[in-house]
């Protein structure tokens, strides 16, 4: 029989606008991989009555309930009391737990504050999940076929407890959820939709979600498969999508466009350098976010002013004066200049107007020109990117990275 999970995220700050429940995202992924779908996620504040209400509702509609937060030592930490009260369980002092918490403080040269004593209280019958990195222990309660797990809200502590204590208690289901993410550049969402309409229509039992972010489209595939069996439906769709989209498909799952570039560059023994204005360092920042980037990334110029385009990227001042900073000759000059100056195999350039200001009627905000210089090739590409400043910058970064990726593909093919 299939079990369903509800996640409860506890903390008034999570109800507001400044924090997302990232713990829930992590838990949803790990449970999904065990074949346990998350059907509800509830966020509730530090209010005793609301907390009890949230747990009462969850007990009525889910078999696995995992709550995060509210196990700390402060007066706002009420999860333990709320659940014990709801299930009518007394809270017992756990002597071993108390010694462990006291010992933890002693190791750091501190005396345990009296408030931490509450963290050694355990609803009668609950199992304790030790916390190897903090003071709040986790708690596991069984209510008939139902499992209620209380975890601390600190992500590092919570994740460790899940891996060591919670997942082993969730005996694997007969079915597990296989997932795959396909990542696409250089196409709009509607164009991707159009090209894949027939494949999508034949997806059968594979769940299909398309997600768009500036400059990147993702197709998320999910398929229930028997434990130990392969995701045959996903594999079939993956092949069909690749056949249609070709080089637009740049990666899968945890791959990013920058990790793909790094892989291609290392395979080809190639290096890259960047000269960018409109993206303001964003292209370089993405490339250097991957470990080992120093092996193939030579460096870059953030040529934001005209002077910087000349001084750092070696653009000819005459061309700059004649064609203006956002033009194909300047983009080519930046790519060639930075390539020569840093002795790189590939020089990549981006210039443009992110907005709100533009460059006159024929060069409105969103006008971006990319340049790529490599062995025997120099290309430019003029784009008109929609959206406000931050979105134009993100789209321009993705378009520039994709241009470099395609250059590397041509070389390494």
């Amino acid at each position: 029989v299939s079990r369903r999970a509800e996640l409860i995220a506890i903390g008034s700050e999570l109800l507001g606008w400044s924090r997302h429940d990232t713990n829930g995202s992590y838990l949803a992924r790990r449970l999904g991989e065990r074949g346990i779908p998350v059907c509800f996620r509830t966020i509730v504040g530090d209010d005793p009555a609301d907390l009890r209400a949230a747990f009462a509702v969850a007990l009525g509609r889910a078999e696995v309930i995992i709550a995060t937060g509210g196990l700390g030592p402060t007066v706002d930490d009420l999860t333990r009391e709320a659940v014990a009260g709801l299930l009518d369980l007394p809270l017992d002092d756990d002597a071993a737990l108390l010694r462990g918490i006291e010992e933890r403080f002693r190791r750091h040269g501190l005396t345990m504050p009296p408030s931490n004593r509450r963290q050694a209280q355990v609803p009668r019958g609950a199992e304790v999940l030790p916390n190897s990195v903090g003071t709040a222990p986790g708690l596991v309660l069984r209510q008939g076929a139902r499992l209620v797990v209380l975890l601390p809200g600190v992500p590092g502590e919570m994740e460790r407890m899940v891996e060591e204590g919670v997942l082993p208690r969730l005996e694997a289901a007969d079915e597990v959820l296989a997932t795959r993410v396909l990542k696409i550049a250089g196409l709009t969402e509607s164009e991707t939709d159009r090209r894949l309409a027939e494949v999508h229509a034949g997806a059968g039992d594979v769940e299909w979600t398309i997600l768009a972010s500036p400059g990147q489209i993702e197709i998320h595939l999910r398929e229930r498969v028997r434990a130990g069996a392969g995701p045959l439906g996903i594999d079939r769709l993956d092949r069909a999508i690749e056949a249609i989209l070709g080089e637009h498909l740049f990666g899968r799952d945890d791959e990013t466009i920058e990790s793909t570039i790094g892989r291609l560059a290392r395979a080809a023994g190639a290096t890259a350098a960047v000269a960018e204005s409109v993206t303001g360092g964003g292209v370089a920042a993405r490339l250097t976010s991957t470990p080992g980037a120093s092996r193939w990334f030579r460096g870059g110029a953030v040529a934001y002013s005209d002077d910087a385009k000349v001084a750092l990227a070696g653009v000819d001042p005459g061309i700059l004066a004649r064609d203006g900073p956002v033009s194909e000759p300047v983009a080519a000059g930046m790519a060639l200049g930075i390539r020569a100056r840093l002795g790189a195999t590939w020089g990549l350039a981006a210039t443009g107007y992110a907005g709100p200001e533009g460059g006159g009627p024929d060069r409105p905000p969103g006008t971006v020109v990319l340049g790529l210089a490599g062995p025997g090739v120099t290309t430019t590409r003029a784009l008109r990117l929609p959206g406000p400043r931050a979105i134009v910058q993100q789209r321009a970064v993705m378009a520039a990275l994709d241009l470099l990726r395609r250059g590397l593909l041509g070389r390494s093919a």
Copy 2:
């Protein structure tokens, strides 16, 4: 009497790990400003029974219920049917709505697909919120004192409906929630806590939350005040915090460290240039994320390789060979070099090892050296930053920006 809200976010993709409910964050903020606290947030997938369960629970514990998503034309869009079924309301065809949707397609040169016809169905007695930017109308149902609002999940459509249709229907409460965010750099969370312990203890009715992100601490203050009155408690705490933290307090609410830098630079008529290796373009990207950055930001060098430190930032190769790339002389050389090369008032530099690789036993991953060169001053600062690669990079970006901010404060003071 005070009303409480529940937000319901609808869509199976929101249950998983790849999407956050940003609509809920927006709604929580706008409702909070009207004095209506959000007490529960529920996320539920595209399952008819689960949808009904989620609305049934919400009707039992909240007076204002706002749901987002599930109003589109596809078979997965079930919100309308679930709520009509739960409240036992027939769905009527709304002729005016249907004409509007057909007209919308016609304007784009298209014929309305039959599936969109469902979007013109209205639970009997519901008010329609017109959608000026998409096809899915919003719906408002009154159940006694309860208000149930169904909105599309597309953020742009949802936000417009909230501003034009929902907020005007929520007559302002006697009390509203005043909020303020204070932003702090250069202190750890525990050091901030320690310094502000006494102020925090005297916060009275002002809710106090401290949030830490790499290199930045925020204090979120919330206070219920009578409509039209000022947030006296928040103002008092703000003054007390500023008196204690001084220059560590760099901004409030929507201010960022980069917008503060831009304001200080413009006020002083100063310009800035950056040479960075360990942060890989991240410092420049942050500085250029603010509109109008071109007025005071000259440009930067992403001097990732030793060659680039010489070629772009003008570092003396002899110093580089003698002291190594992560050293105070090289950080100073990068700051002075980029300042001279781009003719900027201030030159800012960051070099270091983000990890996983370091520079030998005395320079482990997380070793970062910053440099700042300005009129008559050159300073360096060596740091040992904790965390994995991405966190070290974020902390280094914040520390570098804070160093520049302090330089500008000294000049403009």
